[in-house]
Symmetry: C2
């Protein structure tokens, strides 16, 4: 059996995550790719590649060629906009012996469509913030006191917290909808925000790890400080959400605990930005991925981590010479 | 002679900087203080203290007592709002044998008043973005074509890029001024932004180090990627600005290079958030501070660093147990 060679694409600033892979994969190989030679995570691996931007027409063709010349056996993207692309191209990669570590295309679409996610939760009896995708339905709900102001207005398909606004008046909601038809209105939940890192085994399809953290402070749209907690109620909810969902591999959930009721907020079908907290508490996804790529099934170990450990992010840096950058031209 | 014991206050997230101090001060001692036990930088030093918030009335008294009980010999703050406070209390610290590493109170005030800084530059023939502190003077300048829209509107005394807005119309400037009297209007400069880290010897009063970087990418109000450059014109400007300024110790400058003309944008009379780039290129302020506190003068070494080195920031983290936090109660 070939030892795996994993290519992590759109590696960006996720140097810590890439470093965990390098550290854990004592056999096999980990490489990185990004369109920007100033992406810090590139420099965590011995081999790194500059590739086209993901929206360039030849992006997938370029990756396929790269996989062949570099004998890549598996590919993993770290950013939302690339997931759908890879999910669609899964068969082309499979044809050359490359495993794409990504959820089904339908499952990815579900995660990126906030209204579809709301309907999905409704149909499964999972609590979710009230959500409206038209002015009419929102006005009606307001009249019936199903929802009250202030509310959140966000793009129906949006990544992270880009363009999310808290809105105080009906007039302002109307103004925003008049300018942009792709918006939704969402109930403002007041409660403890929870982040969840989960791993669904690529072979068995079963959830093997669930890690829960309370989000304490945010910075630049990411969790800056968090606390690990062991919560059986969260484990149950996550298992319920994942059943027959088509979601696999590393996943990231946002939840709200409103007086003990758990609301699903969103699912990112990829490594979350806060995953290093899970890793440091003993929840090792790179090792599970390695075993899966060696055709081994991972046994479930849900809740098997250190609780009450605080994660405090701070900055570090990588220095790269102009000469080293020169050699990086694609 | 006593070996120095430095207390770094408002240490916050500046873990990398604190770590440089710990690494360089092989004799002497470095400790940290913050009001928040979740400040990551606290955990870089063996001894760390939880102190009141800087706006609490007993803050300075608390620090004075702490300095006495812990035999602190010097104090250094990392955030703007604390600098004026410490500058005012310099004599009280001196009376108990503690050196406050801070510029004169007047020099700090100059740095925090964007209009005063503009006038300072005008009087010394240093290029600076046109600046107006009243609607009348701005309207007049607009009529005379001394300035054109769009412009920046910012608080006259503001730290970092908090509440800085790019404004396209006169009506919007008027609206903002009607709501808030503490604003200024500033010319929008289009050019390469430069960051400068400078050290002014505490004993000789001479500039000993000047490090220049091109700012390439910003994130959460801080430089995320930068490139070191050796620029004689910047060295000259910085030396001119600093002469008889009352500014001492570690300093941080923002400049704009507009087609070869250097405009001073602002001075932060403290360690800049991007200082680690200077350190990694060989410009060592912690070592200079140590020598100064040992009553040794540092010889000037301006421009003595590696150019064309790119700094790429990314995240790392510190894990702290709930038990360790418990012991941190002030």
């Amino acid at each position: 059996m070939k030892t795996p060679h994993l290519l992590i694409t759109s590696a960006g600033r996720r140097a810590k995550l890439v470093d965990y892979f390098v550290r854990d994969w004592t056999t096999g190989r980990v490489s990185t790719a990004d369109c920007n030679p100033l992406a810090a995570a590139l420099y965590m691996t011995q081999h790194h590649y500059i590739v086209p931007k993901i929206d360039e027409v030849d992006y997938i063709d370029h990756l396929l060629r790269l996989c062949q010349t570099e004998k890549v056996t598996a590919i993993l993207s770290l950013i939302d906009p690339e997931l759908g692309l890879l999910a669609e191209a899964t068969e082309r990669f499979q044809a050359i012996g490359v495993t794409v570590i990504v959820s089904s295309h339908e499952a990815c679409q579900l995660c990126f469509d906030k209204y579809a996610m709301y309907e999905y939760c409704l149909s499964r009896g999972i609590a979710h913030a009230q959500t409206y995708h038209s002015m009419e339905s929102f006005r009606e709900a307001l009249a019936l006191s199903e929802i009250k102001l202030p509310v959140f207005v966000k793009p129906r398909s949006g990544s992270a917290s880009i363009e999310v606004r808290r809105v105080e008046t009906l007039a302002e909601v109307e103004q925003l909808f008049a300018k942009n038809s792709g918006l939704i209105v969402q109930e403002l939940l007041v409660g403890q925000e929870l982040g969840v890192d989960a791993y669904v085994d690529l072979i068995s399809g079963k959830v093997t790890s669930i890690f829960v953290k309370e989000k304490l402070t945010m910075r630049a749209g990411e969790t800056d400080k968090s606390r690990s907690v062991v919560r059986e109620d969260v484990f149950e909810l996550v298992e319920q959400v994942l059943e027959h969902s088509g979601l696999i591999g590393p996943l990231d959930f946002d939840l709200f605990d409103v007086d003990g009721t758990l609301y699903l907020s969103e699912i990112n079908p990829r490594f979350g930005g806060g995953y290093p907290h899970a890793y440091e508490c003993g929840v090792n996804f790179p090792a599970q991925l390695f075993r899966n790529l060696q055709h081994e099934i991972n046994p479930p170990h849900i809740g098997n981590y250190t609780s009450d450990l605080y994660m405090l992010k701070h900055d570090t840096m990588t220095l790269v010479s102009a000469a080293a950058l020169q050699q990086m031209k694609r």
